[in-house]
Symmetry: C2
Subunit: 414 residues, 2 copies
């Protein structure tokens, strides 16, 4: 079973906006055993939209139209889809009443063109929209002897998601052949994509019935597995078997097996140990603290720290001796260590982290080139430091440094 | 003149990957006077891709195919586009030599299937790829009496961008009717979208020849103008006239007229005044420091500061009296002020910023609900504080707080 997702709106054909709903819908469709075969973006243009609907009708079984259901003249989805299906549109009196009631509730007068939102394709089921004025529509249609499911859904993400989950998924599940799909994700820190693939491929290639996808970020690799089976248990068993083999292969490089972020995992470990953490950041300028505090409840284990951008701040907040900076330079193993030890002492934390480096693009020298970073973690007994030359731009270098810091903390707590 | 952008790759039909090249290409095409009428995503599937190429041929004048030019069996763009055009493919001996030379330079043996990358559609011009092994192709084709420009380009962003800019834009410019397009962007901080639109619409609606687009983020609105004219001066004059009227309307809410970010503008002002800045962040956890230091060269005016997540850190690093926290609570006007004044003193900076709030989703109370934030800025003469209840999730609340902080600093420096 295949689907085509059609996003409607001239703004989606400018350099400024991008459809993101389709990623969400694809995930949900895949769970139903449906593959997305095509995605189309088309403007608010009668001929273009009608033709796109005709094309989709000929090449996919589930057609999802997103957007173009509003009250303005530009909102053409209803009439163009109807035209492509050879059906008419009628104005639904019950929907008109609902629209007027809704506006009355907001104590506003409804502009007359809003009545367009009560237009329904002949034979369609109306999908109520609790979060907006534009209802969706569910249409079943015979096309050249084959069944088509056609969904008209609103464009705003906070409207389309609940409408799809609550009203479309159950309808599709009832009509599609029953499929069981199991998924799993392994996350690996601080290994390169080609390294991971080189070691993982001989293993996942043996699982022809499991689909493996590798997603690579800076210092972060995700291995995603998905399998279909005759029962959920059978599918899950295959996914778990592959996942288990790869966990053995990558051992402590694997930081997460249930979808958790690295920040969350570090938080779990800290709480498990009854420990807390403080940071002293130079080139990352606050990014490590920001990442740790993305996790709600991080106040249980994150005390805070210092952004020691200026050298005097390294001394003021983390007690780094000025002599040390003068002797080795601010970007050095010694200063990273002193930052980790110093901020730990100052904040009386269990663990201290120090980061210093050259994020670029300017400020590099032959001896201390752009991308050189030192990351240190101290727990009072030992201090570990990593020196690395990170390729890429300022953003990537800074991200990578915080990723390395979180992974060092994780390993120290393991 | 209209274009269709076709992204090829089965991974672009999963929940994990999204085409982003098309936004870049759209911007460049718009500058040439070309509108993008359709965007299509299709998998590595022979029939699907050939049919999509045929459809595009019938509905757009410029066809841009991205991806599917690699060496594997899945890379089908060359042969499928050729089939849609009714042309053959030949293996170019010169390209084969280049491929072998490239691999020899890397001291690697070239796998034989790599020769596929030397396949060229009959009549196509080869576009050399300095940054990868897959060359692009430029094809001019007559379709039902009309000229089509067909571009085959590699998928990786760092390969497609220079190839399009350096090899395709000049070719298109030579062949397309000469257009002059002027653009401009006004950025406005700390106003709501509907507020901005309510005041801006009566003005921009009078400029029928200027296209106005409003982009709204948290505490950040961009008004983008674009006009075509018989000369660049004429187009620029219209855009500037509208922009000038809106600058008058919004006065000091406008922080940028040349595309600069708020972080950059704050950096300019600080340098102009010979001033520097220090921050004390509670609920934002380092995000303000991180934003300020996104700007390369920010070490000239950013000294650093403290992440005062834990209450003791507020005292340790920013000298906030524990009594003050006990009396008013950590999330209070008084503590925000004390943070700004304290971090300024500690760091001996010209300007100090203090942020405290409830980022949620947990930790809110009736008196101090989720979203309540206090932002204070001190320059030694005065201290300004803003109290605001920010709607939205943790990310949005934290972003908004740093946006407000940067805007307060900007206003204090103006």
């Amino acid at each position: 079973m295949t689907a085509e997702i059609i996003a409607i709106g001239s703004e989606l054909l400018t350099p400024f906006f991008q459809d993101t709903n389709s990623l969400y819908l694809t995930e949900k469709l895949n769970e139903l055993g449906v593959d997305v075969a095509f995605k189309t973006v088309v403007g608010d243009h009668r001929d273009h939209l009608t033709a796109a609907a005709r094309i989709a009708l000929g090449r996919a079984e589930i057609l999802i139209f997103m957007g173009g259901l509003g009250p303005t003249e530009d909102d053409l989805t209803r009439e163009c889809v109807a035209a492509a299906l050879g059906r008419a549109v009628h104005r639904d009196p019950e929907l008109i009443t609902q629209l007027y009631t809704r506006f009355a509730g907001l104590r506003r007068k409804m502009p007359e063109n809003n009545e367009r939102q009560a237009d329904v394709v002949d034979g369609a089921e109306v999908l109520p929209n609790a979060l907006g004025t534009a209802p969706g529509q569910w249409i079943e249609h015979e096309h050249e002897g084959a069944r088509r499911y056609i969904l008209l859904l609103p464009g705003p993400p906070h409207e389309i998601k609940p409408m799809f989950d609550e009203q479309c998924v159950p309808r599709l599940r009832k009509r599609l052949p029953r499929r069981f799909i199991a998924t799993r994700v392994l996350k690996i820190a601080m290994m390169g994509e080609s390294d991971v693939d080189h070691r993982a491929a001989p293993i996942y290639r043996r699982f022809l019935d499991v689909q493996t996808t590798i997603l690579a970020g800076a210092g972060d690799i995700q291995l995603r597995f998905s399998a279909r089976g005759e029962s959920l248990q059978a599918a899950q068993a295959r996914v778990n078997e592959l996942s288990g083999l790869l966990e053995d292969e990558f051992e402590d490089h694997v930081y997460s097996t249930q979808g958790e972020s690295l920040e969350q995992i570090v938080g779990y470990y800290l709480q498990m140990r009854g420990a807390n953490i403080a940071v002293a950041e130079s080139c990352t300028g606050g990014l490590l603290g920001e990442r740790i505090t993305r996790v709600s409840g991080s106040s249980r284990y994150f005390v805070g720290g210092a952004i020691v951008y200026d050298n005097e701040m390294k001394t003021l907040f983390a007690n780094v001796p000025p002599m040390l900076i003068a002797q080795y330079g601010a970007v050095s193993k010694q200063v990273a260590e002193a930052l980790a030890v110093g901020i730990r002492d100052e904040c009386r934390a269990t663990i201290g982290v120090g980061i210093t480096g050259v994020a670029g693009p300017t400020g590099g020298t032959e001896e201390k080139p752009v991308g050189l970073v030192y990351i240190a973690v101290a727990d009072g007994k030992r201090t570990e430091v990593v020196e690395r030359r990170v390729p890429g731009d300022r953003d990537r270098i800074r991200w990578w440094a915080t990723q390395q810091a979180l992974d060092l903390v994780r390993r120290m707590l393991m």
